[in-house]
């Protein structure tokens, strides 16, 4: 978690190997991501799933084909096997009935659920969520939250959620790391963070408008700025 623009998505992109760190290293399943060659990186990515902020469904494919996409591209499975695999994932997110719809016909929450089914279809060991709740209505938010919690429990995978929805994440996370200014400023269980002595963490958790993260963007003196034209 952390304020917007602090590098959370950048961190996720380093985990998937889309960006290389200029210093330090990222290790996934024991492998240094930046050191892998193209083939090894693609092998590693087959063990990951990622849910993008806006779902990132392929707009020219329907819901079924979107979920089937990783299977069709990465495996040689026949249609007779792909169909049940896709339908079970869609059923798990409650959208088996929407299989033939186009992405443009889905609501934001439904799109996010289809993207979740797609992220799960290769049975990943690690799943990354980039702002899974942003822009969703309360019901969809609850549904996505429950799905994330459920998949994490039932499939026993590792989930990394990037979010600034404090309440939602605190309800399901084992551990929270707060990032600000490109650094991890606090780590711990949700309860421990609520007691954190850091002003920044408290501001973030309580949603106070002013504090270490200032309300005002840096600006010259207000009075001088307002009357500057007359001097």
């Amino acid at each position: 978690m952390g304020p917007s623009g602090t590098g959370k998505t950048t961190l996720l992109r380093m985990i998937t190997g889309q960006l290389r760190p200029s210093a330090g290293s990222v290790r996934v399943a024991g492998q240094d991501v930046a050191q892998l060659n193209r083939n090894e990186l693609y092998q590693l990515r087959r063990r990951m799933g990622m849910l993008f902020q806006n779902g990132a469904l392929l707009t020219d494919l329907n819901v079924f084909e979107n979920v089937a996409f990783p299977l069709r591209e990465n495996t040689q499975l026949p249609d007779s096997l792909i169909r049940p695999l896709v339908l079970t994932k869609l059923n798990a997110v409650g959208l088996r009935g929407a299989a033939s719809l186009a992405p443009s016909e889905l609501s934001g929450g439904m799109g996010r659920r289809v993207a979740l089914a797609r992220a799960l279809v290769m049975d990943p060991e690690l799943i990354l969520y980039d702002e899974p709740f942003s822009g969703l209505d309360p019901i969809s938010r609850g549904v996505v939250l429950r799905l994330i919690d459920m998949t994490n429990e039932l499939l026993g995978l590792t989930s990394i959620i990037v979010s600034h929805d404090v309440e939602e994440v605190a309800a399901i996370a084992d551990e929270i790391h707060v990032i600000a200014g490109g650094k991890v400023t606090a780590s711990g269980t949700p309860d421990a963070l609520r007691e954190s002595p850091s002003d920044l963490v408290r501001q973030f958790i309580t949603g106070a408008p002013d504090g270490p993260v200032a309300f005002h963007y840096p600006a010259p003196d207000y009075r001088a700025d307002l009357f500057g034209g007359f001097e």
């Binding site: 693609y42 799933g49 806006n54 990132a56 990783p70």
Partner: protein, 255 residues
């Protein structure tokens, strides 16, 4: 700024872009074999960029042919040489107008669609999502579209030429009264296979150019509404200029 520095700056910028486009082309060519093993991806693109461009290509071809027929008839009749109208029209279309006009129309109809489609896929994270799903977006998205253009442009050029000749025939023979037999025999007499090949080489080169510019601009467009819009505009402008320059170079080389 010092005008020399500005000139040098824009020159390095252009050279760097040319280098980037060349590297991108090599990237594409390296991935072609894998995609040719899945021909369905390519035929879909031939349909989208080629078949769906047929209406504009055929309509333009017919009118371009009619206007060449009319102008040709007007000029040739002053020399009392209306008989060679067929040959004149065929040579003009096969060697020059067919490939060039087809490529320009293709850039406007299909190149822009390709660039904006790829640009929007980039802006909405679809390309990123593919990368994370261990699918190479250049291979899966860019290569089929590029190949679609390379296959479509020569075919569309052939159709443009055929319809154009029919348009000229309609004006010359059916309306202006040029002798039908003379129209076709003079064409057979004067058009050599080398003339046809010149047009074919040009259309292949223009297909590569139109496809490459469109996928390059789309793939590298900034992920914003303005960025995608600019990429679409640049696709038409760059393709048009590149096609006209290439046309001169190929003509100078082959003649």
């Amino acid at each position: 700024m010092n005008p020399f520095a500005a000139l040098a700056g824009s020159l390095t910028h252009s050279l760097r872009k040319l280098g980037a486009v060349t590297l991108f082309l090599l990237d594409i060519l390296r991935r072609c074999p894998a995609i040719l093993a899945r021909p369905k991806l390519v035929t879909q693109e031939v349909y989208k960029s080629g078949v769906l461009s047929l209406v504009i290509i055929m309509t333009s071809g017919f009118f371009v042919g009619m206007v060449i027929g009319l102008q040709g008839y007007d000029s040739l009749s002053r020399l009392r040489q209306e008989g060679i109208l067929g040959a004149g029209v065929a040579l003009t279309l096969l060697k020059e107008l067919g490939p060039v006009v087809t490529a320009l129309l293709f850039a406007g109809r299909a190149g822009t669609a390709m660039a904006s489609e790829i640009g929007l896929m980039n802006a909405t994270d679809q390309l990123s999502a593919m990368e994370v799903m261990a699918v190479d977006p250049v291979q899966r998205i860019v290569v089929p579209r590029f190949l679609g253009a390379v296959i479509s442009v020569p075919l569309l050029t052939a159709i443009f030429n055929s319809i154009g000749i029919l348009g000229a025939w309609f004006i010359g023979v059916a309306v202006m009264g040029v002798d039908n037999g003379e129209f076709w025999t003079q064409m057979q007499e004067y058009v050599e296979p080398a003339d046809v090949w010149e047009g074919v080489w040009k259309s292949v080169a223009f297909g590569v150019t139109a496809g490459l510019v469109a996928v390059f601009e789309g793939y590298h467009s900034p992920p914003t509404a303005q960025g995608v819009g600019m990429a679409t505009t640049r696709t038409v402008v760059t393709t048009s200029i590149a096609v006209l320059i290439l046309d001169y170079l190929i003509t100078a080389f082959l003649l």
